[in-house]
Amino acid sequence: MAAAEAAGLIAVGAGLAVGLTGLGAGIAEGNVGAAAVGAITEDASLFGKAMIFMVLPETIVIFGLVISILAIFVM
């Protein structure tokens, strides 16, 4: 019973890790993306820089994913 409970808690934790980081990345990326699109419309040569800023927050959710994978398979 205790083992099943622990497994369930791990699954919940993994879900929270991906879900919350995804939410955070989404909020951040939304702001950056809106500004980036505006900037690119004005000057298309900014695409490279805009793209970098745009994907920076995505790293957060990758961390979340890694944590959840570790939680499920390694713990």
């Binding site: 490279g48 820089k49 793209m51 398979f73 390694v74």
Partner: protein, 679 residues
Amino acid sequence: MSLPESMSRIVIAGSLSHIDEAIDALYKTGAVHLIDHTVDADEGFTLGTPRPYSSKASERLLKIRSMEKELGLTKKTKTEPVPLEKIKSQISSESVELIEKEISSVLDKKNDLSQRITELNATKKSLELLSKLDIDLDLYSGYKSIFSAVGTVTADPAPGLAGICEVFSSGITKKEGGVVAVFARNEDKEKVLSALAECDFSEIPVPNETGSASAALAKTERELSAAAQDMEKVDGEIQALLEKHKDFLKASEEELSIEVEQGEIPVRIATSEHSFVMDGWVPSKTAEKVKIDIEAKVEGVYVEIQETRGRSMKEVEEAENRFKDVPTKFNNGRIVEEFQYPTKLMSVPKYQEIDPSILIAIFLPLFFGMMIGDVGYSIPFIILGAYGLKVTHHKDWRAIATVLFFGGIWAFIFGFFFYGECLGMHFVGEYTPGDVEYSWQYLLGLDNLPSFFEGILPGGHGVHKLGADWIGFQLKLSVYIGVCHLLLAYCCAVYNKTLQHGFVHAFKEKGGWVLSFIGMVLICYELAMLLIYGESFDSILIPMVIGAIILAAGVILNIPEDGMQAVLELPGIVGGVLSYTRIAAIGMSKAGMALAFNYICIGMIYGGLGEGILALIVAFALFAFLHLMIWTLGILSAGLHSLRLQFVELMVKFYEGGGTEFSPLKVKRVKTISDKDKA
């Protein structure tokens, strides 16, 4: 490492009387990037004036372009190329002016007609409204003591006007309103108009006709259809003119724009009363040839190779302002050339740094292939990419096709030799009833697959993207790839700085980061060993201390250059490395989707076997659709994320960019054939 091509600066000097030939010769060599002269850079020299032929040519070019626009000749219209001699003689014999006259007479006709059609349409609209009232058109005007008004209203004005005037109206409804005509004494005009205004009265102009409105309407309609017929005829004439002149127009546009460009070269160079001097950058390996070429072709012109620019920043500082920036000529083979696009998307590399295109060419398709890692998805990628490369010339599409083609090849290699997967199902694998996962071995009943793949695939059945035993392995693998990739980036940074300022400076500026990186990786590795794999503290102590010493050395080296940044950026190193786990994570997410879809669809197919052909068709269609979805998502996620790893993790570490691309004076003829081409 691929650096931009080495450049030499040449100076071409000659007498003004030979400037046309000199410009022509420069264009023919197609290897000279002109340096714009700046006012007051050389005593006695000023900027030149355009060649005399240039203004006439630009005037004609303007005419040609306006004619093209009027006739509807676009970039996409296909035209035949015209021999250069012919087009030149046509232009000099005033063909442009003659054709302009011919075209403008037809265009005038068209304008008149379209104006007439607009007028007729307006009259028709008024008459349509007026014909609702049974009043002859000549009765609306010609009175001395009464005035008339006719127009549309939204409500019936009759109650408000009772006793003041005579009102004729069509059936006025609340929804659509109606038409009303009023006749009143002149002295009641204001009263009437204000009463009408309350009903949203809007006056209709009465056409200058006699008789009933419906007769006039019929007449107008007849005129309108006649005008429309005329219009069709004129359109036909314009089409005929377009067909007749399109080759000439396109060819002369090209020829004239070349003339205009060449004629304006003197504005960019230094001239004195009798002589001119041009400075330009030439790829070093062709510099000698260019010198001999120009001197042989043009009399009285002297060419000298001034310097061959090295990569050191010291040379830049010593150079005159206008010679500081050296244009970047990419120095890549045919395949890497296709990957210049993402580099340029960031910025054109500087003359003094590594062109990262070659790194992108290696790693972008590799990461893409690793994320996809499936034989079934890779084959459409390869076909689509190869087809794209063969068919399209648009640089955006070519860039995408290149990634798809080479990425597809890597995806095949990984899919076949590493993961052993096709459409999310492993080649090798047993199936026991109740399993969610199918394998090709089970589906096709091929029992010889395991022996075939033995020795090819890791573990005999390939890396299982979602298998608990393999997940740690995949994560570790992607982290190791990240470490190598980033180490390469730091090495490139040191190499760039060595080129620009020498090794000592490079080590002071970037060496600290290499050390910090290595130290940090060592510490993290040992920590992971301790925390995740439960190694004893004693066994990790020594490597950990070594890592800490290297890290400390790196930070100390960095502090003079970067200050607090040297410490604050350290977590960024870990973040950068972990960022590569997306390679494994995206592969897993795709495998997860494929697993679920296969479970649904193959279950349906087996279930459908007894249900008849329709159920089978639906199941197969669903199978195809769902896999197409994963495949399309693959382009987006795998493509963008592998690009991001290049841009954000790799290039940020060493790439500065901000160079100017080498753009030599060169004539590109598409619509005109020079005599040389024919021979």
